[in-house]
Symmetry: C2
Subunit: 280 residues, 2 copies
């Protein structure tokens, strides 16, 4: 069998175009405040991409670049200012922060209504309790890809590899809300391949290059690869796609699979946040 | 094989005695405000038991009984008063509430520091994010029973049947934090018995009498039964214990298994809350 390869770039472009159309119908455009602290080159690239796509979708780019040596108190004051600014409908604190800062404490200052990364305790609690709220972007993007291919989740056995707060744990909650049976695996899981072989839908967010091979995939399974790693032979994911695609029914490529969905869902969240709390 | 039957009453008594000893060492006893709205007979019995055990552990019983026809605003005002009262170190809103009240909105008024039921969005988020906080009592009680029998959770395959906000979902989080592989099943799960048979530790909180029979249990498994149902032939749980105990390694009885742990853990949470935010 040769698996269907999902074109995440195309799906993400579709989401961005839809968001842009909907933004154009709003009386006031949403305003996204990306906050970059310091000069980490990778973070700078991520933030630049977010700002560019935000602007392309017709949203206001309310970026803040803060010096790397900023104190916790000064950073908190900036977040508080953005939190109370009615022009700012979404706040994104680019991680990681310089090590002298308490990232969790800063994130908690973001009101859940503006928490477009879905990382505060309240957003996390709302997701776990099944209440409306803003969800972390990457797992939300995986759900859009699953819907794009018409995956039937109700009653399906889904396995999530990885239990990060950013991907694995919210992923499991989103699948559970769609009435899937959900198994969460991680580095301590015994016989990972055997557990993964039970999956109709396998989401891999372990952060280990090519962790999942053909021995870990049920024939016909849908395999979504959240990992991205730079190797001597180019980029690869957490899934050994070259072998897995011979067995799986659907796979996502790396790059061009789940990756492009993250910023697309950030735009979607920013739109959602602005709709729920419009600028008055 | 004949399973070990955990004596939940004895374990709960041990927890209560330990809490009482620790309360006695505090400069000021913790104060638990149970809030009962209306006259539901079952709720009245639960609250009476909580108050009695609270008093027996040396804590202050700061009970409030509110009329069933109270308005949302008036109930909110009572919760706010308890929230700001430094003598009150824990607040428990007995559920269910009369249908005209918005229970979730009232619960959200409880500060996470006093949320001894662990049901607010912030407590739920703290659990999901792996941060310190107060946890729902029943799943916490299951964890104590597992520790009591020396269950090895790291790497174990655990299956939780049921996905309620009160038990199933927080249960899964607690098991995950202990490095178990965790599967969450529910009413839409296909071939529930087959999934349950993969479990080294099986926690059943489905609310369906005798849902889990011997065909759903791996030989030697640890089976914890959170259900309790009144039938013509007396009380029973979600597990058909008479047949399952021939196969399982460990079972909890109903009554006298998980049930008694809930109030014991409420006392533990009230102690923890008072320690973290002592009366000044």
């Amino acid at each position: 069998m040769n698996a269907l390869v999902i074109d995440g770039r195309a799906v993400a472009a579709g989401v961005r175009a839809r968001v842009a159309r909907e933004v154009a119908t709003l009386p006031t455009p949403p305003g996204l405040a990306t906050v970059l602290i310091g000069d980490d080159p990778a973070s700078a690239i991520y933030v630049r991409n977010k700002r560019r796509q935000c602007a392309e979708a017709g949203m206001r780019d309310l970026h803040r670049h803060l010096p790397g040596e900023i104190t916790q108190e000064a950073a908190a004051a900036v977040v508080d200012e953005l939190a109370s600014d009615p022009q700012v409908t979404g706040i994104l604190l680019q991680l990681p922060l310089p090590p002298h800062l308490d990232a969790a404490a800063l994130i908690e200052r973001i009101p859940p209504e503006k928490d477009v990364d879905g990382l505060t305790e309240r957003s996390t609690g709302r997701l776990a309790l099944g209440r409306p709220g803003l969800r972390p972007c990457t797992p939300e993007g995986v759900m859009v890809l699953l819907d794009e291919i018409g995956a039937v989740l109700e009653g399906a056995h889904t396995v999530v590899v990885g239990r990060s707060n950013l991907v694995g744990k919210p992923m499991a909650q989103l699948l559970l809300q769609r009435n899937a049976t959900v198994t969460v695996c991680h580095s301590r899981t015994r016989d990972l391949a055997a557990v993964c072989r039970t999956a109709d839908v396998l989401v891999v967010a372990a952060g280990v290059p090519r962790l999942i091979g053909e021995d870990a995939v049920k024939p016909g399974a849908i395999v979504l690869d959240v990992g991205i790693h730079r190797t001597e032979n180019g980029l690869c994911g957490d899934v050994d796609t070259d072998t897995v695609r011979e067995i799986a029914g659907v796979v996502t490529p790396v790059p061009g699979g789940v990756g492009p969905m993250t910023i697309a869902m950030l735009l979607q969240n920013t739109l959602t946040a602005a709709r729920e709390n419009p600028i008055t």
